[in-house]
């Protein structure tokens, strides 16, 4: 049963169309990933889902309530973890959590109890009375998440919750997401980190240019690429000429620049194609520094669908 249903969502800002006819179905109890590069329209789509932006066209139904007709019901069902740290830096974690709890209608003993619970989930009980401004980036992110789940929302929307934090805090957040999902919470997780989405999410929608360009399970999405292997080559000169040289080798489906000094080559059989590709590049005066071969992943899917890297 779909707990979140977006139908034909469109958002225009003047002449620019940020979200262009997005349809999404998120099932109750799943972790749904929204993957796309910066500027793909993920945050705008989420803002419409949680009532922060009014859709130009379309509607979002959450737990049976339309954001257009019953925004308060929708907001009660949703918890939001914004991309930025939406907390008051000069208030303590405890004061922040109590404030946000009250905004969701919690009070008295129920509020105290819930604040204690989310502080425990964030692992910051012993620093609850310290001001947020004294926290590290990772600790702030953990309280930012805790504030979003105070009222036990049916759906927790997490917008890039691991941006700019240390690996330890990132692992803690990813583990928290898993635990929340195991407890029955539906999670909509947006990121431009392919690995996170691939690890956490049951189903994924890939967005680019304001549209959902693919949607399904990881395996379903991988089949879009076919059976090609992905060869990543670190070279001293990654440019159009290098791509053309690699693409000219037999068995190579496509070659593209994915990062500075990095080529990605899709080949039907890497074991047969790798050596001729390296020889062709070397003959063209391009020095190959390292090689990585793997099966297709979401990065490859995105590359296949758009012709560009997620990191572009």
């Amino acid at each position: 049963m779909a707990i979140v249903e977006a139908r034909g969502l469109v958002k225009r800002f003047g002449e620019a169309t940020a979200v262009d006819g997005v349809d999404l179905n998120i099932e109750a109890g799943e972790v749904f990933g929204l993957l796309g590069p910066n500027g793909a329209g993920k945050t705008t789509a989420i803002s419409m889902m949680c009532g922060l932006l009014e859709p130009t066209e379309g509607d979002v139904v959450v737990d049976g309530h339309s954001i257009r007709r019953e925004p308060t019901k929708v907001k009660e069902a949703l918890g939001i973890v914004p991309q930025d740290i939406a907390l008051y830096p000069t208030l303590t974690a405890l004061e922040n959590l109590k404030f946000w709890g009250r905004m969701y209608g919690l009070s008295g003993g129920a509020l105290d109890e819930r604040v204690a619970e989310v502080l425990a989930i964030a692992g910051l009980e012993d620093r609850a009375k310290e001001r947020i401004e004294t926290y590290s980036g990772g600790m702030k992110r953990r309280i930012n998440i805790a504030a979003g789940m105070l009222h036990r929302p049916k759906v927790l929307i997490m917008d890039e919750p691991t941006v700019g934090i240390d690996p330890q805090s990132r692992n803690h957040i990813l583990e928290t997401v898993r635990q929340l999902n195991e407890s029955g919470m539906t999670i909509l997780y947006t990121s431009h980190y392919m690995e996170e989405v691939e690890t956490l999410c049951d189903r994924i929608a890939i967005m680019d240019g304001g549209k959902v360009i693919a949607q399904g399970t990881k395996d379903e999405l991988r089949t879009l690429v076919g059976d090609e292997d992905v060869i990543t080559l670190k070279v001293d000169r990654a440019d159009e000429a290098a791509c053309e040289t690699a693409a000219a080798v037999g068995g190579v489906e496509r070659a593209s620049v994915v990062a500075e000094g990095e080529l990605e080559v899709l080949a039907t059989d890497a074991s047969e194609t790798l050596a001729p590709v390296i020889q062709a590049l070397t003959a063209a005066g391009i020095h190959v520094r390292s090689v990585d071969v793997r099966e297709p992943n979401l990065e490859s899917v995105f590359l296949h669908l758009t012709g560009k890297s997620l990191r572009d």
Binding site: S47, C50, G51, L52, L53, T72, K75, E76, L78, I80, P82, Q83, D84, I85, A86, L87, Y88, T90, L91, E95, F99, W100, R102, M103, Y104, G105, S107, A147
Partner: protein, 403 residues
């Protein structure tokens, strides 16, 4: 309502924790009040800009001429007043109502005859309501003069009647000369006193004018507007730091969010005023009737809350609001009399003070300081509330909710 109160309380808490903001909102006005009241203690007593007064003699008797001459005699008046005789009473009255004259004195027809017959004569005074302090002083001086002259004339007339019975005075003309001489004595004596009083400091609270009182009110009013600017910053920061987005994602309406923010700004302004009020009282300032002061302060804080919303609406970003805010606040302070009394400004610029929050607020505060009651400041409080509502509406209309 609970959510509105929670937002308001949180905003007050944020300001209380913000030391630089507290220094600006409370420390700066305290320092300025002390410096200005010590350095400019002579404000309102200076030699410059004598207050214009018209004298109209409708009676045309030698007694009335004596009084009119005394009123226009600069030597007797001192330098604070500049009186001129005129025969066009209606034109003078219009000038008073327009604020071009501080006051007009009319010697009514029959004034001399009343004094000659031993009755009390009354000088009529009309004053500019825009200059309550100076006008109050002048009115009381003329009324006192009127009473003294009448008393002296009655005494002279009674004396001459007794002398007539004793055959010392034989004609009415001789009795008239006694009255005239008595009036002359009083006029000379009283106007000297007037001149001293005008230049010095009357002892009655009703006419007291004191730099500490003045700058206590002036700086409080100006810094309440600075408090409003910090309120605008807080609202704009909510947007840039994403907390506004989080608030609007919660089950709370935009009206509730705005009401909470406005309540927070109002609470900060109220706290600020109470602290400055208590401090100035402690160092000896006189504010007048407390109920009136609180009424005006409440209305001023409401107007400042409107200013905060307008700054947030038109400023769009904290940087822009930070550029516009001080200019608006300092212009209002200058025009509205926070730095120098409106009555000391050139006549041409005086009416501008009514375009500012400071002008309405200070006018009311000064009325209260000069002994006026709550009723006299009700129009000012209403004007301030009106300004608050108008600025709030403008601010809400222009407010950008999305980042």
């Amino acid at each position: 309502m609970r959510k509105i109160l929670t937002i308001g309380r949180k905003d007050l808490q944020l300001v209380v924790r913000d030391r630089p903001a507290l220094m600006t909102l409370l420390g700066m006005p305290v320092v300025l009040i002390l410096i200005l009241s010590m350095a400019l203690g002579n404000v309102g007593k200076g030699e410059s800009n004598p207050l214009p007064v018209a004298v109209v003699d409708h009676d045309g008797t030698d007694i009335s001429r004596q009084i009119a001459d005394a009123l226009v005699d600069r030597d007797k008046l001192g330098s604070l007043l500049k009186a001129e005789r005129t025969s066009n009473a209606e034109a003078a009255r219009r000038k008073v109502r327009m604020g071009d004259l501080m006051a007009m004195v009319e010697v009514p027809k029959g004034f001399g005859a009343k004094l000659d017959s031993g009755k009390q004569g009354v000088l009529r005074v009309e004053t500019d309501p825009g200059q309550p302090l100076a006008a109050g002083i002048f009115r009381s001086v003329v009324e006192a003069l009127s009473q003294r002259v009448s008393a002296a004339a009655v005494a002279a007339q009674t004396t001459s009647r007794v002398m007539a019975e004793s055959r010392f005075v034989t004609s009415e003309a001789e009795a008239h000369r006694y009255v005239l001489a008595a009036v002359d004595d009083v006029v000379a004596d009283k106007l000297d006193t007037v001149a001293i009083t005008q230049q010095g400091r009357p002892t009655g609270r009703g006419m007291d004018f004191n730099a500490l009182d003045y700058y206590g009110a002036g700086m409080a009013v100006m810094f309440l507007n600075f408090g409003a600017m910090f309120g605008a910053f807080a609202l704009l920061r909510e947007r840039t730091e994403e907390t506004l987005g989080r608030l609007l994602s919660a089950p709370i309406s935009r009206v509730q969010v705005l009401a909470g923010k406005a309540l927070g700004i109002f609470a900060v302004g109220t706290m600020q005023f109470l602290v400055l009020f208590a401090f100035t009282r402690l160092v000896g300032a006189h504010w007048g009737e407390s109920a009136g002061v609180m009424l005006v302060a409440g209305a001023q804080v409401a107007a400042a809350t409107g200013l905060a919303l307008a700054l947030a609406g038109f400023g769009k970003t904290q940087r822009a609001a930070g550029a516009i805010g001080p200019i608006v606040i300092l212009l209002m302070a200058a025009a509205g009399g926070s730095w120098m009394p409106v009555s000391q400004m050139p006549e041409a610029v005086r009416p501008i003070h009514l375009l500012s929050i400071n002008g309405w607020s200070l006018d009311a505060m000064l009325r209260l300081q000069s002994g006026a009651g709550v009723a006299s400041v009700l129009p000012n409080a209403a004007a301030l509330l009106g300004i608050g509502v108008a600025l709030s509406a403008l601010g809400v209309w222009r407010l950008k909710w999305e980042r």
